[in-house]
Structures are given as structure tokens and as C-alpha cells.
């Protein structure tokens, strides 16, 4: 199949904060303007707009993308919202890719926004309705239950040490100390801090978890003939993939995310990647919890099953390690405004592959990076591969 090549040419984001005074529209506008400014384009240059945002209940606005559209530059343009829960932040640039690869549009502005602070007393209340109405909701489940059950299954299946898993939280919060937009950067955090933090639902502890956050991120994507005019450093979309497991989480293999593997296989095939561990130079897997980064690295086939925690503890995934993982600081460090957090990872690859990541720049000259997000009913994997 012949397709137009698609590049990311601009990126911008707001600061990730616990509680923004800005409305969701105003956050979206700030990120979108910065992205346009970064590639010296204006709204007039944009053919279509893609909006990514997670559950409506977070912002407390139904028909959320219609509400957000003017802040996203959607006035008078073709606009679409894609939504695959937490996977949205990586799915939205995938939508950007196929809007352009299809030949329908030359330039697309992609915005992901989340304003979780609107949701009181806590977004957990909104998450309640993702559970089965009859077999689960009457038990008053909490989202942390899923993670705790999954983390325990993962740890037990492979005999993992929680201390190794905690190194992910430490790495990401330390990496985030170099991110100007980060909410929870901490250059001095230690593994003991994580292991001594409050137990929420064993084995999940407070510092294993990313925070509730407000923020927005935007990308400008172009067809090759436009990208060549706009920049001398286009970052190409080399592969995309997404995949869904069963909606019944009690029917899933919780110790291994097979849907992430399937999504990765789709993206690797498109990118011509046969040995991911050698051909991917930076990874930004989804890390709402520290164990999830490891779980996803295994699903992405960047580490063998059950091997990622040891590699993390050995420093392989540090910014100056053999495979830098979440050099941005990830969701654990930069923050987790759901859809915006996923696309922050794609923006990070863009900056890293252009050598523009400042204090976060990984050493050497990375040529290819992968970002992945995860969500829906905890069973979708979304993967994008970018190359310089």
C-alpha cells in the first residue's frame, strides 16, 4: 500500500499542574499556540484538527471535544475526537497520521487536554462506572484494585522484587526534575521513600502511583511535501499500532499485556523493525504506575518477560543507560493528565530526536523512539514509532 509519509514538525505543552485556573479550552489553546509557534505556522496553515481527551466526567463536560474545539483551533475546520481512554494520548497522533497518510489532509493540529481537578472529590468516582454494572460495581470497586491485583499477579508470576520495581518511580521522578513542565520532579527521591510511602492497596503504595493532573499538549503533523518546507528537522512517523484485549479484565492474563504486544507488532511491521531492542533507541512506555512501565516494556518486546525490573535496577533504562526509558520523567514525574500525558511522551520523542530536549537530552544521537499508552478498560495498547 502506498501512503504519504507523515512528519511531526511542531510540539508544545502547558505546565502540568495539580489545579489549573485556566479552563480546559484555555489550556488547549496554550498548548496549541505553542505548537504552532514552534514551527512558525498559523491556524490558517492547518487543514484539520484532532482532539484527544479522556472521560468526560473528569472535566465535567459532556460532548467534551465540541466544548474544547475553539481552544483547539477547530473553528471552521474539520474536527474529530478520538477516544480510547488512557490510550488516547498516543492514539490521537495515530489519527493525525492516518488523516494525512490517507491523502485527505496535508496539515493537522493534534491536541490532547485533561482537566482532572474539576472532578470532586476525586476522579476515582468517575472511574467507578467503568466496571461492570452488575458483577463489579455493587462491590464498590476502586481503580487501584485493578492495579494492585495486576501488580501482584505480575510480581508473583515472575518472582519480582518490589525494590526493583520502585527504582522506576525514582528514575522517573528524578528525570522529571529536568522537565520545565513537570508537576512531581524530585532530584533527591530514593527507593526507600517509595517503599516507605503509604500503602493504598497492597502492593500499590502512594509513590508507585502518578498524580491527578491538569494540562494539555499539542503536535503539528504534516505531509512530507509540507514538512520539507516547514523544517529541516522533520521527525517521521515510522510505525503505528493499536490493539484491544477482552473487556472482561477477569478473563485477561494480568501478568502480561498481550494487547501491547499485538499493538507493537503492528507498529514494528510497518516500521520494518525486526529487532526492537536494537532498533529502538528511546522508549516512552506508559507509566501511570511504576510496575506498568516494566509490564509495558515486556509487552513491547524490549525486554524478555519478567526481566524488565532487574534491568531497571541495573540502570539499563536510565537516561544514560543502554535503553533510555521515560527520559521525560513520564507520568510518575511530569504528571498524568490522562490524554495529555500520553501525548507528552510523543512530544518528548520529537524533542529528543531533534536534539532539543535540553537537560533531558539522552546521550548519543538517537535515531528512533517509541511511545506507548494504555487505557480503555485497561485493555488497549497504542504504539507510535518516530524516527529522525
Amino acid at each position: 500500500m502506498s501512503r504519504d509519509r507523515v512528519a511531526v514538525v511542531g510540539a508544545g505543552m502547558t505546565k502540568f499542574v495539580r489545579r489549573a485556573q485556566e479552563t480546559g479550552k484555555e489550556l488547549a489553546w496554550e498548548a496549541a499556540s505553542k505548537a504552532l509557534e514552534s514551527c512558525e505556522m498559523t491556524l490558517d496553515d492547518i487543514d484539520a484538527v484532532i482532539i484527544g481527551s479522556a472521560p468526560e466526567a473528569f472535566d465535567g463536560v459532556h460532548m467534551k471535544s465540541e466544548y474544547l474545539s475553539d481552544g483547539c483551533g477547530g473553528w471552521g475546520k474539520p474536527v474529530i475526537r478520538g477516544y480510547v481512554g488512557g490510550g488516547t494520548g498516543v492514539f490521537s497522533p495515530i489519527q493525525g497520521w492516518y488523516h494525512i497518510a490517507s491523502g485527505l489532509f496535508d496539515t493537522v493540529l493534534v491536541i490532547c487536554e485533561e482537566k482532572m481537578s474539576s472532578c470532586q472529590p476525586h476522579p476515582q468516582g468517575a472511574f467507578l462506572t467503568i466496571f461492570d454494572n452488575f458483577t463489579e460495581r455493587p462491590l464498590q470497586p476502586n481503580l487501584l484494585w485493578i492495579f494492585a491485583l495486576e501488580m501482584n499477579a505480575y510480581m508473583t508470576r515472575y518472582g519480582l522484587d518490589k525494590r526493583d520495581i520502585a527504582t522506576v518511580s525514582v528514575k522517573n521522578k528524578r528525570n522529571a526534575a529536568d522537565h520545565p513542565a513537570a508537576l512531581l520532579g524530585d532530584a533527591n527521591i530514593t527507593v526507600d521513600d517509595v517503599l516507605n510511602s503509604e500503602v493504598l492497596a497492597w502492593p500499590v503504595q502512594r509513590l508507585d502511583v502518578s498524580p491527578v493532573t491538569d494540562g494539555a499538549v499539542a503536535l503539528v503533523m504534516c505531509a512530507e511535501h509540507v514538512a520539507r518546507r516547514v523544517t529541516n528537522k522533520p521527525v517521521w512517523v515510522e510505525g503505528v499500532g493499536w490493539n484491544l484485549d477482552t473487556a472482561y479484565w477477569s478473563s485477561r492474563d494480568l501478568s502480561y499485556p498481550v494487547y501491547v504486544e499485538e499493538a507493537a507488532r503492528m507498529a514494528y511491521k510497518m516500521a520494518g523493525i525486526t529487532e526492537p531492542r536494537k532498533q529502538i533507541h528511546i522508549a516512552e512506555p506508559y507509566d501511570p504506575f511504576d510496575y506498568k512501565e516494566l509490564h509495558h516494556l515486556e509487552g513491547l518486546m524490549l525486554f524478555d518477560k519478567g526481566e524488565a525490573p532487574r534491568a531497571a535496577a541495573d540502570g539499563v533504562t536510565q537516561r544514560d543507560g543502554d535503553l533510555p526509558v521515560c527520559p521525560s520523567g513520564g507520568l510518575l514525574g511530569v504528571g498524568n493528565p490522562i490524554a495529555a500525558a500520553g501525548m507528552m511522551k510523543v512530544a518528548e520523542l520529537f524533542w529528543q530526536l531533534r536534539g532539543e530536549a535540553g537537560a533531558r537530552q539522552v546521550p548519543g544521537t538517537p535515531k528512533r523512539g517509541l511511545a506507548q499508552a494504555w487505557g480503555d478498560l485497561m485493555q488497549v495498547g497504542t504504539v507510535i514509532i518516530l524516527g529522525a
Binding site: 466526567a57 475553539d70 473553528w75 472532578c119 460495581r137
Partner: protein, 157 residues
């Protein structure tokens, strides 16, 4: 046949009732905060102006949705305008008949490209017409909270 049968005896189906235990706490935003503070403190309506696109936004926006410029030019706008269109509401949300029908109007504010949807007061439904000139009636200061309900209604002038 099966569908009709099931619908005719809904009480026979086991049901479980759940709700979403959240409330939303909205911030008005950078532009909204200033708009509602002016209503609260000064009984005044303000808009933002995009000189490039020649548009005055009411309610005010932080940015121009046409050209995406940040809007720093604030203008006080009249609290008068005309009825662009209206409806007379006869039933409430639950379908109950209202004893006193309410008049809802979309009021285009003078000298702006925007307006507000609000109630009309001090006028009978049969006397309302499109194009009618109206003005905002503000509640007393002690009753105002920084909300759109700080305007009690618009009335004919």
C-alpha cells in the same frame, strides 16, 4: 414479540441502581474570572476585542478563535441589546406545566459580536418580539455571587 413482551413487564427484570458519585468544581478560567468579577463588583459587562479580526467577544475569550491570537484588549460593553430570538417555556425538566411560563431570550449585546442567553422579565409573553430592545437587570450587590444569575433578567427599555 419478545421485545414487546419484555418492555411490557419491566419490573420483572432484576435491576441494580448506581450513580456516579462525583460533583464538578469548575474554574471560570482566565477570561471568565475577569468577566464575572466585573459583574459581581461593578454590574458591568466586559468583552475582549481582536483588532486583527475586528471581533468583540462577549462572553470574553482569552484567545481569538478565528486567528488564535491572545486577546489583551478588554472593552466594557453596554448592558443593553436586542432580542435576537426567544422562546416561551411552558414545561419544566420533568414535563410539569409551569404556572407562569418563562421567557428565554438570546440577547445580542450592543456593539459586540456576542450576547447572552437569559430570562426576560417585566414583560408579558404576548408582548415579546424579535428585535425588542432590552437591558440587563442586576441583582442587589448582597445577593450577587459572581455567577450568570447575578443578572436577574433582561427587561424591555
Amino acid at each position: 414479540m419478545g421485545l414487546l413482551y419484555r418492555l411490557s413487564k419491566p419490573e420483572q427484570a432484576i435491576a441494580w441502581e448506581g450513580d456516579m458519585p462525583i460533583t464538578s468544581r469548575y474554574t471560570m478560567g482566565i477570561a471568565g474570572e475577569r468577566f464575572f468579577r466585573a459583574i459581581l463588583d461593578d454590574e458591568a459587562l466586559w468583552g475582549t476585542c481582536c483588532p486583527e479580526c475586528d471581533v468583540v467577544y462577549v462572553p470574553p475569550r482569552l484567545y481569538c478563535e478565528r486567528c488564535f491570537a491572545q486577546l489583551d484588549e478588554w472593552v466594557e460593553v453596554p448592558n443593553t441589546g436586542y432580542v435576537y430570538t426567544y422562546t416561551i417555556v411552558h414545561v419544566d425538566m420533568d414535563g410539569n406545566t409551569l404556572e407562569d411560563p418563562r421567557i428565554m431570550a438570546y440577547v445580542r449585546l450592543e456593539g459586540t459580536d456576542g450576547g447572552l442567553v437569559h430570562f426576560l422579565g417585566e414583560v408579558d409573553p404576548e408582548d415579546v418580539g424579535i428585535g425588542m430592545l432590552v437591558e440587563a437587570v442586576f441583582k442587589d450587590k448582597a445577593e450577587r455571587k459572581g455567577s450568570i444569575n447575578d443578572i436577574a433578567y433582561f427587561r424591555p427599555i
